[in-house]
Amino acid sequence: MTSSTEKPLTGNIPLDGSALDLPAYEQAGGYQAIRKVMNGGMTPKSVIAEVKNANLRGRGGAGFPTGVKWSFVPVGKDAPNPTYLVINADEMEPGTFKDRFLLERNPHQLIEGAIIAGFAIEADIAYIFLRGEYTLAAERISRAIAEAYERHYLGKNILGSGYNLELHLHLSAGRYICGDETGLLNALEGKRANPRAKPPFPVVVGLFGKPTVVNNVETISCVPHIINNGAEWFHGLSRTKDGGTKLYGVSGKVKRPGLWELPMGTTARELLEEHAGGMRDGLKFRGLLPGGSSTPFIVEEHLDTPMDFTEMPKAGSRLGTGTMIVLDDHTCPVGMAWNMTKFFARESCGFCTPCWSGLGWAERILRSMEYGHGKPGDLDKLASQAKMWSPGNTFCALAPGAADPLETAMKYFRPDFERHIVEERCPWR
């Protein structure tokens, strides 16, 4: 796509709330990338090499290099059959609404990316696993898929290349745990959405036991642009080593909450102060969760950290989904911690003990604190529970993701927690 090189993912999206439809998408250079791949002599290997060189890292939150993931898929005559591509569109991270924007407003970009990704991993069948509540996205994606089939971008012998791909839309029954790629696979198979043990990894044993790549919506949406413009160009979009642009979001009591496509590595301060317009009048900034509720808090001293996969850990946090939630001084940090812990406790799949049991307990402690029934020793109990949820102690990343905001809230806002206990009430209520 040529018209919007600075904002390749969102630059062509109409501002009236409608989706970029097929004619407009094609006019803006859409579906050229698949022509380049199918008819321009590219091979699955060369596609993977291009994406590897672009250093595209998974936008679902974990930041795993996409090209590397693709290269793990067994291919060739003896490889198991079929191979699946699954697009994780089960966006349920609190404070995160970036994939929704791409799904509702630029569905063909996602489909084109899926075709290229499918080609690269020699997939036979692709699924878009969509959050059930995203009804508008479901409607628009369904229509776009039908259009793509009509144009023979999907189905048998795509553009005469001999490559076949079926693409299905699947609506999730709705659990946060489906965001875990293996929980998603179980759900897609019609089973309980409990995460799976790894190894075996999904690239070897995935959906219905076959090799499967699971990629996030934003990740896949980047792919056509990398193919069209090359890895070097994609690098150039970014301010840091991690390639490309990023959809950043800001929510909380800021002047202009919203979503922006910006160079990867834009700092938290720039986002907060320039793009979101700073705190609402009369409110002071206290801290923020940079990438959805399952990332650790950062505070004033960290605001100049570039928001990418490499730099954020240095500030003790993670990029996550890149959609921050901002805490102000008129909002109770204990209440916020309670709210998030309640969410995680509710969404625990119930498989491993520290998660299903400990989250429920922590939620009860925070609730009682918030209602003025906190007791001395509660903070120790919370700390000991959060420790139980360390990575490796639990089966998947849900509970560690719940520990991060809770532990950092207790670190940065400890006096507020203590006041709840001493004053036997929430000072903000």
Partner: protein, 872 residues
């Protein structure tokens, strides 16, 4: 073996296994819940956390789940590490948040894995101050009790019930800390192996409902090692008693036979021992007499010179032999109906002849292609059906191996295998429960099943004779040929000698193992003992050679049509019957002698595998009940060992049965093996309301077991394990301590002696007696037996619980003119019976199935031609 360092001490561990398995093998106390040797690892409970270190210089280490980590060479772990220990205590604390702490009123108390593990981690102080989540209990039927408030969400129940046993009506519902394990509504658990939930559940969610009716703590029960009497597989059990009532059955692990699991018939059928139908005193002409009078009468009659003895395939070798000795070999009859005797004889002949070997149930689990010819296994040999549900996974297991997934990584393996099933072909007259995991099924009359078998053998080896080709034959032959461990199963229940012979041909042609089922717990033993079948006995009375008969534990009305039995018993002047339950035969007895059940006697059964196994008296009955062989034995035999010595002399080919268990003289460091666990309360308090002086415990002249809690603290040999216990391990999970490794053989070898091994391949000839193809007859039906999991076997329907689950007798047909549930009259040579109809459209035309073994059909001789008519 790999060297793994645990707290800096080297241990040898199996590198094909995980660290938890290795630690438990070494007797290290590492707590766990979700892992089970038969179910593998899933990493749900997080209880078995240890620290793993990169090398000897690594002091930091990281926490891993030992069940999810391979026991690789050189691995260094710590169980004692403070951080790991704190984490494990934290996991228990988490599990206990919602647990009701109702141990005093919980049936699991005292043998609860959750109690043991809680103590092991040292968690003892409750910090949780909020209310607990609660569930509603479900009524899961008469066998298994459900109390989900105690649940710790370990997922073992659904993994066992669904993944292992193939059940569908138990599931995990909801999420977070409210996962509910149960049915979607109240109702009887459908799976035939539901009782194992009682032992699989680490706490008191699933408990034995039959035990509830007469509850006693484990430490208050007196146990003996025993063998199940409800089919011929010989599953090993431990039976528990208190105050003269048999309280329950628990699994007695035998690596080669039942492993960790029993069927519900075996686990819950025991209550026939407590039945109101029990004969408890000798009766002469209907009047109670003393033991001395009864014995005098018996001796007089036995000496009269015109006596015959009728043995029984459900009585022990010792009881049959005592009768044989009493009446003389010439006057001893096997007690089997002619057709059954012939089938049993042929079965033994085939197994002895070889070259096919009869596999153990464990070996069956390892088979990777199976052909069943004629048997409804879930009904006639249930535990074998559970083994087959594992064997269908063998071939697909290759997928896991190729993906380098350790086979103990249960969910990983299942994710890779999905629903893939290896070859299992089932050819039976009617649909069976195992059909759902079969590659293909074949329905036919017994003769056609045999013809299919001959065709399969022919497809494998052109030398093998065949009379007809079947489209399925080549497919089955191929599957068997391509298998590493092929298996053929047939047996007596189909009542077709030709089918058994065809199965033998297939097994020989495929170099496969051959398993043949038998109907009763000692059918094979009775057949080996010999003696003419029933009509010969009838004949002896009819032609006046005999006027007195002694019938041993045998209801003849289940062996022959009532009219024939009536005539036979009517013609005899004196009928002496030994049995434990009143039945139509005991009603005809002049002298009725109360025989001990398996729980009140010692003896030996030979299973369909050919394995001789000893069962031991659980308790001394408080009345005139005696083991049958004790009623019948000559004075010079003092104890069981004397019977066995005489048996070995008289019948040398049965001599090895003596070695099924150590003799009565066996001691460990001079001590007997206690039948009772040591208990806090103490035996002495039990009778203190009657006498304050401690009564003498009964002597046991027949075994190395004592009727007390005193005895050796050491672990006994496999045949003498009355209960599983190890310090800190009060639940059945203590089985670990008796095995060479979890899920492996018992230390010192598993119980039982195989009575015959087949001859090597030496040019055995093909069976060639191929029956003609089945021709339906106009206006007539071929009546064949249809077996029911509960109902067809003789003793289990006398048990409370199973009684209400027993199938009602009926006739199944494939007929357009009849309606489901309508009453019809079925008439055949054995009589006329009014029965409801069940329509089964997959039955072969011209074949009707009659409920086997259920009154009024229990004595019907089948297969037989008969008529089915609407009642006039």
């Amino acid at each position: 073996m790999a060297t793994v360092y645990v707290d800096n001490k080297p241990y040898e561990m199996n590198p094909e296994e995980n660290l938890l398995h290795g630690c438990v093998s070494q007797g290290l106390n590492l707590p766990y819940f979700c892992w089970h040797p038969a179910l593998g690892s899933v990493g749900a409970c997080r209880q078995c956390a240890v620290k793993v270190f990169k090398d000897e210089h690594d002091t930091q280490g990281k926490i891993v789940m030992s069940c999810m980590t391979p026991a690789a060479e050189g691995t260094r772990i710590s169980i004692a590490d403070a951080e790991a220990a704190t984490f494990r205590a934290g996991v228990i604390e988490g599990l206990m948040l919602n647990h009701p702490h109702d141990c005093p009123v919980c049936d699991e108390g005292g043998e609860c894995h959750l109690q043991d593990m809680t103590v092991m981690t040292g968690h003892d102080y409750r910090r949780y101050e909020f209310d607990k989540r609660t569930f509603r209990d479900q009524n899961l039927g008469p066998l298994v009790n459900h109390e989900p408030n105690r649940c710790i969400q370990c997922y073992r129940c659904v993994r066992y019930y669904r993944d292992y046993a193939g059940g569908k009506d138990l599931n995990a519902f909801a999420s977070r800390n409210t996962v509910f394990f149960g049915r979607n509504e109240d109702g009887v658990l459908e799976n035939e192996f539901s009782g194992n939930l009682v032992e699989i559940c680490p706490t008191g969610v699933f408990t034995d409902k039959t035990l509830k009716h007469h509850y006693a703590r484990k430490w208050d029960q007196q146990f003996a090692p025993s063998v199940c009497v409800h089919c011929a597989l010989g599953c090993n059990i431990d039976a528990g008693e208190r105050y003269g009532t048999l309280r329950r059955i628990v699994n007695r692990y035998n690596h080669e036979v039942n492993g960790y699991f029993l069927c519900d018939r075996g686990r819950f059928g025991y209550e026939f021992v407590n039945s109101e139908r029990r004969l408890r005193e000798p009766r002469l002409s209907g009047k109670p007499v003393s033991v001395v009078e009864a014995r005098t009468h018996l001796e007089e009659r036995a000496d009269s010179g015109r006596v015959i003895g009728i043995g029984s395939p459900r009585a022990s070798l010792e009881a049959n032999f005592a009768l044989r000795t009493l009446v003389g070999p010439e006057q001893f009859y096997s007690g089997m109906a002619d057709g059954q005797a012939e089938l049993a004889g042929r079965m033994i002949e085939i197994l002895r002849r070889g070259p096919m070997r009869t596999p153990t149930l464990r070996e069956i689990e390892e088979c990777d292609a199976v052909f069943i010819l004629g048997e409804d296994l879930t009904s006639v040999a249930p535990r074998m059906a559970l083994s087959l549900r594992q064997s269908v996974r063998q071939q697909p297991m290759e997928i896991a191996r190729q993906s380098n997934i350790p086979l103990w990584m249960d969910h990983g393996v299942r994710d890779a295998l999905q629903d893939a099933k290896g070859p299992l072909y089932i050819a039976t007259p009617y649909a069976t429960r195992l059909d759902e995991v079969a590659t293909a099924t074949f329905r036919g009359a017994p003769d056609d099943l045999a013809r299919l078998g001959f065709a399969v053998a022919h497809a494998l080896d052109p030398e093998a004779p065949s009379a007809q080709d079947f489209p399925l034959a080549a497919e089955i032959a191929n599957a068997l040929k391509n298998a590493k461990k092929p298996l053929v199963i047939s047996g007596m229940s189909c009542c077709s000698q030709a089918a058994m012979e065809a199965a033998a041909n297939v097994a020989m042609a495929a170099h496969a193992a051959l398993s043949l089922t038998a109907p009763e717990c000692n059918t094979v033993g009775a057949a080996l003992m010999g003696g003419s079948p029933l009509t010969a006995a009838f004949e002896a009375v009819r032609n006046g050679h005999a006027d007195t008969m002694i019938i041993l534990e045998n209801d003849l009305y289940r062996r022959a049509p009532a009219t024939e039995v009536d005539a036979f018993l009517g013609a005899a002047k004196h009928v002496i019957v030994l049995d434990h339950l009143a039945n139509p035969t005991t009603e005809k007895a002049e002298l009725e002698l109360p025989a001990g059940t398996f729980a009140e006697s010692d003896g030996t059964f030979i299973s369909s595998e050919g394995r001789a196994q000893r069962f031991f008296q659980v308790f001394v009955p408080q009345n005139d009940v005696l083991a049958s062989w004790r009623w019948l034995k000559p004075d010079k035999w003092q104890n069981l060992d004397d019977v066995l010595a005489a048996l070995s002399r008289a019948l040398p080919e049965l001599a090895s049965a003596s070695y099924a268990a150590p003799s009565a003289a066996f001691r460990i460091a001079g001590a007997k093996i206690p039948r009772s666990p040591h208990r806090e309360s103490g035996r002495t308090a039990a009778l203190v309301n009657i006498t304050i002086s401690e009564p003498k415990t009964p002597e046991d002249p027949d075994s190395a077991l004592s009727y007390s809690m005193e005895g050796t603290p050491d672990k006994p040999p496999a045949a003498l394990i009355p209960f599983f216990w190890s310090p800190g391990w009060n639940s059945i999970q203590a089985t670990n301590a008796y095995q060479t490794e979890p899920g492996g053989p018992l230390r010192g070898g598993d119980a039982g002696v195989r009575m015959f091994e087949p001859a090597a391949a030496n040019g055995q000839t093909w069976f060639s007696d191929i029956p003609p193809a089945f021709e339906p007859r106009e206006g007539e039906w071929l009546l064949v037996p249809m077996y029911h999991f509960i109902g067809s076997e003789e003793l289990s329907p006398a048990a409370r619980g199973l009684r209400e689950l027993a199938t009602k007798p009926h006739v199944a047909v494939n007929c357009d003119d009849l309606v489901e549930g309508a009453e019809v009259e079925v008439s055949c040579a054995s009589g006329t019976f009014r029965l409801p109809v069940r329509l089964q459209p997959d039955l072969p035309r011209g074949v009707a199935c009659l409920s086997a073994g259920i009154a009024p059909l229990s004595g019907v001789t089948m297969p037989a031609w008969g008529k089915i008519e609407r009642p006039k």
